[in-house]
């Protein structure tokens, strides 16, 4: 459903040096895949996800979503079908807006924001139920500015927000990097439950091998901008030892 064809991404520095972040990447992700991407720093993981979300444009190659070419579409245009959870919890929320207002925006991701107030009590209740399921005690603070919450709380809410409106692809760039182990585990568990429940297609970047194996249905390893391993867990069972 989403295919990257001969993707190249080069960055040119101020002094003219060219950095080849991604070289000739060919990946096809199928519907329902939970793809984890691993690799050391500078291997091109984040660049790959930025190309898919539209934050960066490839130097060469095409990105196809359901056979439609979206290579040159902006982040805003892609927002109708791509949902994102950022590495930094601060990137994913509007801090001065209340929790409820952030959720309204998330609900309207990729849709027109009209001069009407589409919020109603059923949306409010629905949001409250979803937030209550996190067991963080946030369901009674819906009108509080979201910036007053801790990083872990914000990231958990980001995850709910990303999956509030239907999406074809969920991108998660090290969503737990800024969190302590307890919160990280909680956020990942929540992510996994939502992905399974809604049958989402998901691309997940992590440094943590155990997480990659535990949650991913398919593992891709990048090194120096190329794919060096691509393993479908349903075909080849993997453990940390065999990896």
């Amino acid at each position: 459903m989403i295919s990257l064809e001969n993707i190249q991404k080069h960055f040119t520095l101020g002094d003219g040096t060219v950095i080849k972040a991604l070289n000739d990447i060919n990946i096809t992700i199928n519907k329902g895949d939970f793809v984890t991407i691993i690799g050391s720093n500078g291997s091109g993981k984040s660049t790959l996800i930025k190309l898919i979300s539209g934050i960066e444009q490839p130097t060469a190659g095409n990105i196809l979503l359901n056979k439609r070419n979206i290579t040159r579409q902006s982040v805003e245009e892609r927002s109708a079908y791509v949902a994102q959870v950022f590495q930094n919890p601060e990137s994913g929320v509007a801090p001065n807006l209340s929790i409820l207002e952030n959720f309204r925006l998330a609900f309207l991701r990729g849709k027109t924001k009209s001069l009407f107030n589409t919020i109603n009590s059923s949306f409010k209740n629905h949001t409250r139920d979803k937030i209550a399921a996190l067991n963080m005690g946030l369901e009674n603070k819906l009108n509080m500015p979201i910036g007053m919450l801790s990083g872990g709380q914000r990231q958990a809410l980001c995850l709910l927000m990303a999956t509030l409106a239907p999406c074809e692809l969920l991108l998660m760039d090290e969503p737990t990097a800024a969190l302590d182990p307890v919160n990280a585990a909680l956020v990942l568990e929540t992510a996994n439950n939502i992905v399974k429940q809604d049958g989402l297609t998901c691309l997940y970047i992590t440094h943590n091998m155990q997480d990659a194996i535990k949650y991913g249905s398919r593992l891709i390893q990048l090194q120096n901008g190329t794919v060096i391993k691509d393993i479908d867990k349903t075909v080849t069972p993997i453990t940390e030892v065999t990896w």
């Binding site: 001065n96 309204r104 925006l105 107030n117």
Partner: protein, 289 residues
């Protein structure tokens, strides 16, 4: 007592500009210097519409708002699409507006004598201009409060708050900045519209440094809102209006105790400086530790 009432009325008139600055400063975090130009543009258009074109005060209001909105959009376009810093974009448009304003007015000063204006045409007694002066901020405050609660309104607020997040939600930042600064400068122009009619003249220099008055009102309003623990948008905007009145009061008191009128801009600058220091006092304290 007379000067107190005058200060309140001036404060209410300048409050429109304060609301405009609130949008650019607090929502978009842009110190919008266009204000100096768009305030005078509002004044110039008001004077010309009322005296030369013989338009009705409320038709004039429409012309003034469109003028201000165009000025604000230009700043936003220069800032967003030509990637020029917001401060510089504002200065560019402000500088250009000085000439435009002179062209609109045809000369540097236009008195409003025997022309119908909002303070006279509606058969209010001249001794009660505060009714009109009160009505304008109230109506615009209500409108803004409603707009900022809609889906579109929260999209505007989010785009000033977090660009990365807003884009990922499908919000076009450029469009939002254009609309936001257009709204802000339309309000500023309405400030010029009210002041011109209240003091019965428009002058090419009346906008010089006026952005400081707006900033001061917003900062004073913000401190008061924080002191009263007000969090809602509408509540904060009410305090911007209050801040504008307080600001004019301080100026009026300084004049009444014999400060040289030439020192008014100096006092304004000191006031804004004091307001900034006051709002930042927590920062200094935490650094001292």
């Amino acid at each position: 007592m007379g000067f107190f009432i005058t200060a309140i009325i001036l404060g209410l008139c300048y409050a429109l500009m304060g609301l405009g600055i609130y949008i650019s400063m607090k929502i978009f975090k842009i110190p919008d210097i266009t204000t100096d130009g768009s305030f005078t543009l509002g004044a110039a258009l008001t004077a010309v519409c009322l005296t030369q074109w013989q338009l009705q005060p409320f038709t004039t209001l429409l012309v003034v708002m469109i003028g201000g909105a165009v000025a604000g959009s230009l700043t936003a376009i220069i800032h967003h699409y030509f990637k020029i810093e917001a401060l510089l974009s504002g200065i560019l448009v402000m500088t250009a507006l000085y000439s435009i304003n002179l062209m609109v007015m045809g000369r540097s000063n236009i008195p409003l004598i025997n022309t119908p204006d909002i303070f006279k045409s509606l058969r209010f007694d001249l001794s009660e201009p505060y009714i009109m002066a009160l009505l304008f901020p109230a109506i615009f405050l209500l409108l803004l409060a409603i707009i900022f609660k809609t889906d579109f309104g929260i999209a505007i607020r989010a785009s000033g708050d977090n660009e990365t997040m807003s884009k990922s939600m499908g919000i076009r930042i450029g469009k939002m900045k254009i609309i936001g600064l257009a709204m802000a400068n339309a309000l500023t122009a309405v400030g010029g519209y009210l002041i011109t009619q209240y003091q019965s003249f428009a002058d090419i220099n009346m906008g010089i440094g006026i952005v400081m008055t707006g900033l001061g009102s917003v900062l004073i309003g913000d401190s008061m809102a924080n002191a009263f623990k007000v969090q809602s948008m509408a509540g904060k905007m009410i305090f911007v209006i209050a801040g504008s009145i307080v600001f004019q009061m301080i100026l009026a008191v300084s004049l009444s105790i014999g400060v040289n009128p030439n020192a008014l801009k100096l006092i304004t600058a000191v006031l804004v400086f004091a307001a900034v220091v006051l709002t930042n006092r927590k920062k200094y304290l935490s650094k001292a530790r």
